[in-house]
């Protein structure tokens, strides 16, 4: 896509997002998509741009979700402060898990992040402040600095949209920065990047923390928007979902994870009432199809198709 078409694409998309609640789409549904889109974009920072498959990103999403919920219910914190501290709790968690997981790469990295996220899951299950099987319900939405109440679905939606756009722009900035280029170099050839004088582990650690923090922000935002934090935020299948969203849309593309999360959330909403357990089967089947038939994802395949067409003419 060239510059002008890119701009047109995003302008149309933003207009659609602004108008979406007025054309019959439920704000709650849209907010769920956007929160998962932030989550998937954060995840993509690792899988797409650094080639690290974390199988445990639900840990950050879930822990931040719990922290924000707990701060706002038991301690009556304000919304911005609870969001911030919620996201920062994932920074710390990302630091700890990263320091352990970064010692191995590739397939082992995936297994270690999965195991550690399972540890986090059991801690959340048993910790006194998470409400066990029930989770934390009835989280108030609060307001923004006393200026704007978020109790209304519409104002909450526009706030979530604002945060999403900020995160999206931030991730583009990171990927296009020299740091992003170094990450790509490490992904493509780690020994060579090291020999050029980059400490691969430092760079990986940095992107790990960045990704976990943004995943945490997504979890915190989801808690404020939907009003609850439960075990389903931190359970392993949530990690699977975010991988699927990123893969389906296209890992290593900016828009792919957003499209992927829209499709997966919509599918779950449409199907879960009608087909019960078959949702799991369908999600599994999409996984298999993605891996077998289009590994670049929808957006990735589209971009590849575009560049093929360009080179032919």
């Amino acid at each position: 896509m060239n510059m002008t078409r890119n701009t047109t694409f995003y302008t149309v998309l933003l207009l659609l997002a602004l108008l979406a609640p007025w054309i019959g789409l439920y704000p709650i549904f849209l907010m769920t998509i956007l929160c998962y889109a932030i989550f998937a974009c954060a995840f993509n920072l690792m899988l797409g741009y650094s080639g690290m498959l974390s199988f445990g990103h639900s840990a950050y999403f879930g822990v931040s979700s719990y922290v924000t919920a707990w701060l706002m219910t038991a301690n009556a914190w304000s919304t911005p402060a609870a969001l911030l501290v919620g996201a920062l709790s994932s920074t710390v968690l990302g630091l700890v898990i990263g320091l352990i997981a970064i010692r191995r790469s590739g397939i082992y990295f995936a297994m270690i992040t999965l195991a550690l996220s399972q540890l986090v899951y059991f801690v959340c299950l048993q910790a006194p402040f998470t409400g066990g099987e029930n989770g934390i319900q009835g989280v108030p939405r609060g307001d923004l600095f006393g200026l704007l109440s978020l109790a209304d679905d519409l104002s909450m939606y526009y706030f979530v949209l604002f945060v999403f756009v900020m995160v999206y722009l931030f991730i583009q900035r990171v990927v296009h920065s020299p740091f992003g280029q170094v990450l790509k170099a490490i992904r493509e050839n780690e020994p060579r990047a090291s020999s050029l004088g980059y400490f691969a582990d430092h760079q990986k650690m940095l992107v790990f923390i960045l990704s976990s923090t943004l995943a945490g922000l997504a979890g915190s935002l989801k808690t404020v928007a939907l009003g609850f934090a439960t075990l389903s935020d931190v359970i392993q299948s949530t990690s699977g979902e975010v991988i699927l969203m990123t893969m389906l849309g296209g890992a290593g593309t900016f828009f792919g994870p957003v499209l992927g999360s829209a499709i997966v959330v919509a599918l779950q909403n449409l199907l879960s009432d009608r087909v019960g357990s078959w949702v799991t089967v369908i999600i599994g089947a999409i996984f298999v199809i993605c891996v077998m038939a289009f590994r670049r994802g929808i957006v990735g395949e589209w971009l590849a198709f575009q560049s093929r067409r360009k080179s032919n003419t």
């Binding site: 352990i100 590739g106 297994m111 195991a115 991988i243 599994g284 996984f287 077998m292």
Partner: protein, 294 residues
Amino acid sequence: MTDIFGIPIQVILGQLLLGLVNGSFYAMLSLGLAVIFGLLGVVNFAHGAFYMLGAYATWVLLDVFGFGYWWALLLSPLAVGVLGLVLERLFLRHLYKIDPLYGLLLTFGLSLIAEGVLREVFGASGQTYPVPELLQGAIDVGFMNLPIYRVWVILASLAICFLTWYLIERTRLGSTLRAATENPRLVQAFGINVPLIVMFTYAAGVALAALAGVLSAPIIQVSPLMGSSLVIVVFAVVVIGGMGSIMGSILSGVGLGVIEGFTKVLYPEASNIVVFLIMAIVLCWRPAGLFGKE
């Protein structure tokens, strides 16, 4: 009565036995994972699902066809092994040349499909399976009652583990297998059909998981989700042991099961997470795992 740290010795021995039972399941499953990973370079996320399928096959054999435990011990792994053959041929074979992460993702997808289908067909609740007549009851060994079935599970799975070890490390077939792991092209040049070996290795690995499923059927609830959390623990076991060595997987599997059993006595809240904590410590100390080579 003798106490250790204020805990009756019977309780400790009881948990030790349970730990050994769990440990032998860990050993069987991590052994299969290691064999598959060695030859295929695929981390088989579906291992837990195959374990679950093995247990369900056992239950269906009895409930629908009237075949008892001893038949199941033979037929379930066979059926699951055939399924493994088909899946390897259809899917996994096409992924060997690309990033191994895709193999993990594919098998993850397959395990979701298996879980979803079984939940839809048999419901989410667990089924119980009777302990076979021959192995019912307990023997009194003086200081405690040993349930015969649990002893059988430990002995049977250890025998299977050592048999597998012997097969791989000490026989002609095993040496071919190890050679194919080291250098598949060279082995192929000697006129050995490596893709066929790979296919049957995958089948054997998942049959091993199914066999563990059969052994576990009488002592746990047979449910669609029984494999999904187990496979994560087994991953941790494999990271701790290092995937390179067969004996390493057996030892770390049994050892971690026992440690988990003791944790249940001393500090029950931590029993779910102790394996993961040990994994974190081992990674800080020896990133390649206890028996692994970097």
